[in-house]
């Protein structure tokens, strides 16, 4: 793994503080200021969200020509649309004339977008194609060909739609690096891949946006305390409070990371998360051997695609006497100022699966994660209170978070078949430090 160190960077905030004095990634200390400073929030919008690839939607959300959804890159709204020519486009939702959002419905189907202010009309790729009373109003002074809603570059990886407003982004494969191997395992283990069930659930949490990604990328340890009631209720079938320890903790370049948890060797786990037999056969025929071996005996995956898209691939028992249900959830921590985020959560299942399996996935999801989910509410309680407790001057000046779990542990591949920097045992804060390294590198550039 390339170590993206922040030492030697002399970036200073407006009060003269050096960025490097806020992060000691070598020794595992991060200043509370990093999750609460409005100046850093502005820098994040400019130096992170305007530059990196941001995953914002899944192709199954816009399956037909003309389908669109509204999403966010940083705190700015974009339209994700499938054109009449079946190509996917992402544009800033602001008219070239006065900046009015041209789409105000969260999702819909249309061959063109017409601005409600003056009627400027755009094709789905953002090209201006219509201007009311063009001759009388503008005459020769406006050449429609020259104007376009601000356009993002788009990349699709195993159905996940990434976009960036960076004119010269790194190739998406380079940006994702070894994380891509795991995305294939989760999103494309059958020929048709995963499908979003329903629409994303959304809610606002009074928390800094980074706390979600920090948790999902590597915090297997909080399950012990925060989610203890899930253990007591046997939603965690083994009933073992240390259930999230038994796995690997994997870091990738550019801040991406994940943890993959099975169970102690003596505990039996259903194959491929207990998918029905027909789906298991498709997995055998689709996934390369390495991913198949990794995916075969797992119960929980948690991770974050830097900067703000996390995922969970979970199996929970939510009803007595019934087999556990499994699902993949994507979750985006959309920034809304330094002290608030809007959470978008999706639930996905194999597209080819039966309605019964999809129903079980969704039912298991809404009982555990999503707005009504027990574990989701556990987390939101923590993150909102962290922001409440750390946005004051004293916390910002004097509080350093401890990120020393696993800091002396060396990478160890063991028999894990997947790429990345692998640590045995998922109780570690290496992935979190890896995010902070990527964050600091971009802020200081």
């Amino acid at each position: 793994m390339t170590v993206q160190d922040v030492r030697g960077k002399e970036f200073r905030l407006s009060d003269g503080t050096r960025l490097q004095d806020l992060l000691d990634v070598e020794n595992g200390y991060i200043s509370a200021r990093i999750v609460s400073d409005p100046e850093l929030y502005e820098l994040e919008m400019k130096k992170i969200f305007a530059r990196v690839w941001v995953p914002i939607a899944h192709v199954s959300e816009i399956p037909n020509k003309g389908d669109y959804v509204l999403r966010y890159i940083g705190d700015e709204e974009v339209i994700v649309a499938r054109s009449e020519h079946n190509t996917i486009h992402v544009v800033l939702n602001a008219c070239t004339h006065r900046g009015m959002p041209v789409c105000r419905s969260e999702r819909g189907n249309s061959s063109h977008f017409r601005c409600p202010y003056h009627g400027f009309t755009y094709r789905q790729d953002g090209q201006l194609i219509g201007v009311p009373a063009h001759k009388e109003a503008f005459g020769e002074a406006l050449d429609k060909e020259l104007y376009h809603l601000v356009q993002a570059k788009v990349a699709i990886v195993y159905g996940l739609i990434f976009a960036t407003f960076n004119d010269n982004p790194p190739p998406i494969d380079e940006y994702l690096g070894t994380m891509k191997w795991y995305l294939q395992m989760m999103l494309q283990h059958t020929p048709e891949g995963m499908e979003v069930i329903g629409v994303p659930q959304r809610w606002v949490v009074k928390s800094n946006w980074k706390l979600g990604g920090d948790n999902f990328v590597g915090d297997a340890y909080h399950t012990f305390m925060t989610h203890y009631s899930a253990v007591q209720l046997r939603i965690v079938p083994s009933g073992d409070p240390k259930f999230a320890y038994y796995g690997v903790h994997v870091s990738h370049d550019n801040g991406h990371g994940l943890g993959l948890i099975g169970a102690p060797p003596e505990v039996e786990l259903p194959r491929f998360y207990g998918v029905p037999e027909d789906i298991a056969k498709k997995i055998e025929a689709t996934l390369p051997p390495g991913q198949q071996k990794a995916f075969e005996r797992l119960a929980y995956i948690h991770g974050t695609i830097f900067p703000n898209m996390s995922f969970g691939y979970f199996s929970w028992a939510t009803e007595d006497g019934k087999a556990p249900g499994s699902y993949l959830t994507l979750r985006q921590w959309v920034p809304r100022g330094p002290y608030e985020m809007e959470v978008f959560t999706w639930v996905l299942a194999e597209k080819e699966a039966s309605d019964a399996w999809k129903h079980l996935a969704r039912e298991t999801f809404v009982r555990t994660f999503g707005a009504s989910g027990m574990l989701e509410q556990d987390d939101a309680e923590m993150w909102s209170n962290i922001t409440r407790a750390t946005k004051g001057f004293i916390a910002r000046e004097k509080l350093n978070f401890i990120y020393r779990m696993g800091i002396n542990r060396k990478p160890e591949q063991g028999d894990w078949p997947g790429p990345g920097t692998v640590y045995q045992g998922d109780y570690s804060e290496q992935n979190q430090l890896n995010i902070w390294r990527a964050w600091a590198r971009l802020i200081s550039e």
Binding site: S111, F113, G119, I129, A133, H134
Partner: protein, 80 residues
Amino acid sequence: MEHLDGQLDGQIDEKAPAIVIGNEFTQVIIRKVYTRNGERLEIFSPKLDRTIWLDPLALESLTWQEPEVFTSFLAKPFGY
């Protein structure tokens, strides 16, 4: 040749039940209309108070149009 005004106000024997097609941008009401000798599809825009009747040949010709044709129609977003 004699020009007959008000073609769209011509005699309609019967109108089929209407269906509404809408999205956040506009809404149209469409229905089949029966004339003495045949039938057409009526598209009505309540917002613009405009109507067009399309016969089977005109409708069929729409099926081979490229998306750009409709883009060119929308160069005048309200018909002017």
